[in-house]
Structures are given as structure tokens and as C-alpha cells.
Amino acid sequence: AQSVTQLDSQVPVFEEAPVELRCNYSSSVSVYLFWYVQYPNQGLQLLLKYLSGSTLVKGINGFEAEFNKSQTSFHLRKPSVHISDTAEYFCAVSKAGGSYIPTFGRGTSLIVHP
């Protein structure tokens, strides 16, 4: 089975500052990795995904993440955040190949202050 640990429950940051949201995973098999964003009272929206190939993955809204197999991490980064980035961010993992059944972390609340 796969599991995900999001190390920070809340990350406060000022507007235009860089941010990193941390995610570590555990799995005995190859995995796919994802970051989702959830705005208040909304469903989940896919930010980016790692399936294979380049370990640096770029997504929507200027976010990127790097897959590090040796450290079993998939941290999300943005060089300059906006107020509109305030939301809940979820890291998810799924076994590579076969049916796509993501397991989610508990989420990190990104709070961007003006």
C-alpha cells in the first residue's frame, strides 16, 4: 500500500515570497505522484503530476514540483505567490500502472498575506 505525509498543516507566507509545500511518500512499488488544489467550497483541481521521465514537473498557475526517489519526496514550489493562491493543497500517490486509485495526504493550508 502507498501512503503520503504532508509535513506542514499550515504554511503562512507573504505575497510575492517563494513557497515550498513538503510531501513525502511511502511505497514498495513504483508510483505516480500528484498535487491537487482545493479552493473553499470547491472540488479538487489537479495542479501537476509525475508519471515518468523528467523529475522536474511544471504545472498550472506557476507551480512546479520535483520528484526525488532517493528521498521519497515530491515537494511543491512556487517562486512568487499571490493572494489568490490561498487554498488547501493535497499531495497524492498512486501505484504506477493498473487502475488509478490515488491516496491523499491530509493537506497543507497555504495562507498568503498581503
Binding site: Q6, G43, L44, L51, S99, Y100, I101, P102, F104, G105
Partner: protein
Amino acid sequence: EAGVAQSPRYKIIEKRQSVAFWCNPISGHATLYWYQQILGQGPKLLIQFQNNGVVDDSQLPKDRFSAERLKGVDSTLKIQPAKLEDSAVYLCASSSPGGYTEAFFGQGTRLTVV
């Protein structure tokens, strides 16, 4: 294209009552998921359908929860009888079949059990 539709958006019931949620996936999506998201936690998969067959229901509390997708399109999730700990957002998602394809989420149904 139209997204995943869920209804109702909000529901308040007393414990021991029954409740049903409805989901209409994106047209052509054979795979449908129901997730439970308790406040402060990540979404937890309850059940996954492929057309009208169940792929995974290992985390569905079958003594009180049931789900069906009779014609391989719409799905309903039922809770009977509800408990206080069932208070959560119930998310429906759908995707195309075969390996990894992006899952699209509905806005969810927020259930409050009092």
C-alpha cells in the same frame, strides 16, 4: 465540456436518519469514485466503479454505506443510519478508463449530522 455534477450541495440530518447523494460524471467517463473528506483530513476513497462494476470498496463501511451505479453512468451513495462521525464532504470524481487518466472532481456534498 460539462463537469462532474453532484447534488445536493449541502445536507443536514439527524443521527440515525438516512441520506442519499447523487453524482453525474463527465460524459464518456467509465470510472467513477466516491471520496469522503472529513474536516482537516485528505479525501479518503470509499468506492471506485468501472462502468457498473465495483473495482475497490475496501474502505466503504458496508454496515451503513451503500453505493450503486446501475446503468454505468449516474451513481448514488447512501448512508443508513447516519452517525455523527459521518459529517464530512462527499466528493465524486470521474475519469476515462485505462492506466492513468486525470480524475475530475465535483464540488462535493457537505453533510452535517446533528
